[in-house]
C-alpha cells in the first residue's frame, strides 16, 4: 500500500525543538491492517497526519507504489459539520453518483432513522458511526483510524468494531489503526506495533495468528 520513511519530524517548543519522529519506517501491504499501540504523545497521530498529507512539514517521504490513494480518515473526534444533516455530511465527501451508496451505508450502520437529523441530536456513539460511514462512503484504498472508538461505552465500541469488521469482510481495505487498547488492536489488526516515545520507535511487533483472524471474520 505504502512505504513511509520519516527521517525527522519535530515541533517547535520552548526548549528549541521537540523531535517526535526520527528515522522511522513503516510498510503497509495491500489490504493489510496494522495497529499502532503506544503511550499518549508518542507521535502516533502525527504519523497519521504525515501519511495522510495533512502535515507536509517534515523530512522523509511516503511512497505510494499504486498511485495516489483515496484515504478515508476517522479522526479522534467525529468532526461532522454541525450545520449539515447526517445525510448531507456523507454526500458532501462523495461524488454525486455515489449518493445512493452513502444512503445505503447509513442504512447498514443503523443510522437511517437519523439521516435527516443534525449531528447535535446524535449520541457520541452514533456520531462515531457516522464518521465511520463517511470514511467508508468514499470507497477508500486506505483507512486511517485515530482512536476511532475512544470514550465510547463498551457496547457502543463493540458495535462499532463489529461494523468495521463486517465492512472489511465485504471489501478488504488497508488500514492503519491508532489505539490505546491492546484487545482492540488484537481484534482488528493483522499486525500490532508497540511503540515507544522520544523519538517514536517500534518497541515490539506482533503478528496476529491467522487462526484468530479467521475466527474474527466468521463472527
Amino acid at each position: 500500500m505504502f512505504s513511509a520513511d520519516i527521517r525527522r519530524k519535530a515541533f517547535p517548543s520552548p526548549a528549541g525543538e521537540h523531535v517526535v519522529i526520527e528515522d522511522f519506517s513503516l510498510n503497509l501491504g495491500a489490504g493489510e491492517i496494522v495497529a499502532l499501540v503506544g503511550p499518549s504523545g508518542c507521535g502516533k497521530s502525527t504519523l497519521l497526519r504525515l501519511i495522510s498529507g495533512l502535515d507536509t512539514d517534515y523530512s522523509g517521504r511516503v511512497d505510494w507504489p499504486a498511485g495516489a490513494p483515496r484515504i478515508g480518515t476517522i479522526f479522534q473526534e467525529p468532526r461532522l459539520l454541525p450545520w449539515r444533516t447526517v445525510r448531507q455530511n456523507l454526500r458532501l465527501v462523495v461524488p454525486p453518483d455515489r449518493a445512493q451508496i452513502a444512503d445505503a451505508l447509513l442504512e447498514r450502520l443503523g443510522l437511517a432513522a437519523f439521516a435527516d437529523a443534525y449531528p447535535q441530536a446524535l449520541s457520541l456513539g452514533m456520531a462515531r458511526r457516522v464518521a465511520l460511514a463517511r470514511a467508508l462512503a468514499i470507497d477508500p484504498d486506505l483507512l486511517l483510524l485515530d482512536e476511532p472508538f475512544a470514550s465510547l461505552d463498551p457496547e457502543s465500541a463493540e458495535r462499532c468494531r463489529a461494523l468495521l469488521l463486517e465492512s472489511w469482510s465485504q471489501r478488504p481495505v488497508a488500514a492503519l489503526l491508532v489505539t490505546h487498547d491492546f484487545a482492540e488492536a488484537a481484534t482488528l489488526a493483522d499486525r500490532v506495533l508497540l511503540l515507544a516515545a522520544g523519538p517514536m520507535r517500534i518497541a515490539a511487533e506482533r503478528v496476529v495468528p491467522a487462526l484468530r483472524r479467521q475466527r474474527r471474520a466468521a463472527t
Binding site: 495522510s52 498529507g53 495533512l54 483515496r70 484515504i71 478515508g72 480518515t73 479522526f75 473526534e77 468532526r79 459539520l81 454541525p82 450545520w83 449539515r84 448531507q88 458532501l92 465527501v93 443534525y118 447535535q120 441530536a121 463517511r134 468514499i138
Partner: protein, 249 residues
Amino acid sequence: MRTGWAGPTRLLSLLALLLVWEAAARMAHSRALPTASAVFAELVRQTASGVLPENLAITLGRVAAAFALSMLLGSALGLAMGRWRQLDLLLDAWLTALLNLPAVVLIVLIYIWFGLNEFSAVAAVTLNKLPNTAVTVREGTRALDRELLEMAHSFRMPGPTVLRHVVLPQLAPYLFAAARSGLALIWKIVLVVELLGCSSGVGFQIQVFFQLFDVTAILAYTLAFLLVMQAIEWAALQPLERRTLRWRR
C-alpha cells in the same frame, strides 16, 4: 419575562412614545415641532402625490447597491485577510485608515475626484461601509474551526464545496452582524451623500424641506424610511437568520 408579553410591551412602548410626542407638540405649539397626527397626515399626502414613493425608491436603490457591493467586496477582503497573513500585514494599515476616515471627508473627496454622479454616490457609501464588513469577516475567518478545515482537506472536498458548506456556515453570525450594522450605517450615509450632491432621493428632499423650514415633511420622510428599514429587518433579515441558524438548538 414571559415571551407572551414581548409583543404587547413593544406596542405599548411605541404608543407611549407617540402620545408623549403628540402632547408635547400640542403644548409647544411651534412650527419646529409638529404633532404626530400632522406628520402622519403629511406622510399620507406625500405618498398619495407619488413624490415620496419615487424618492424613497431612488434612495432604496442606492442603499441596495451600496449594501450589496460593500458586503460582497468587504467579505471577500475580510476572508482573504483572515486567511493569508501576508495579505493581512500588507493591507492592515490601509484598512485602518479607511475605517477611521470621517464619512464626510470621504464623500466630499469622491465627489471632487469623480464628479457629482450616481457612481460617486454609490462608491462613497460603499467605501464607508466596506472596512467594517472586512474587519468583522476577518475576525470570523480567524476563528474558523481548523479541525473541520482539515477534515474537508483530508476528504479532498473541492474549494467551492468547502466555502459553501464548511466556511460560510461558520461565518454566518459575523455576516449577519455586518449586514445589520451595515444597513443602519448605509442608510444614514446615503442621506448625507444625497444631501451633499444628488438632485433626487430622500436626502435631497430633506435638504429642500430644510430650506423651507418644513419640519412636518422632514419627519414624514424620516418616518417612511424607518418603517421601510424595520420591514426589511422583519421580512428579510430575521427569517433568513432563523433559517441559517436552525441547526443550533
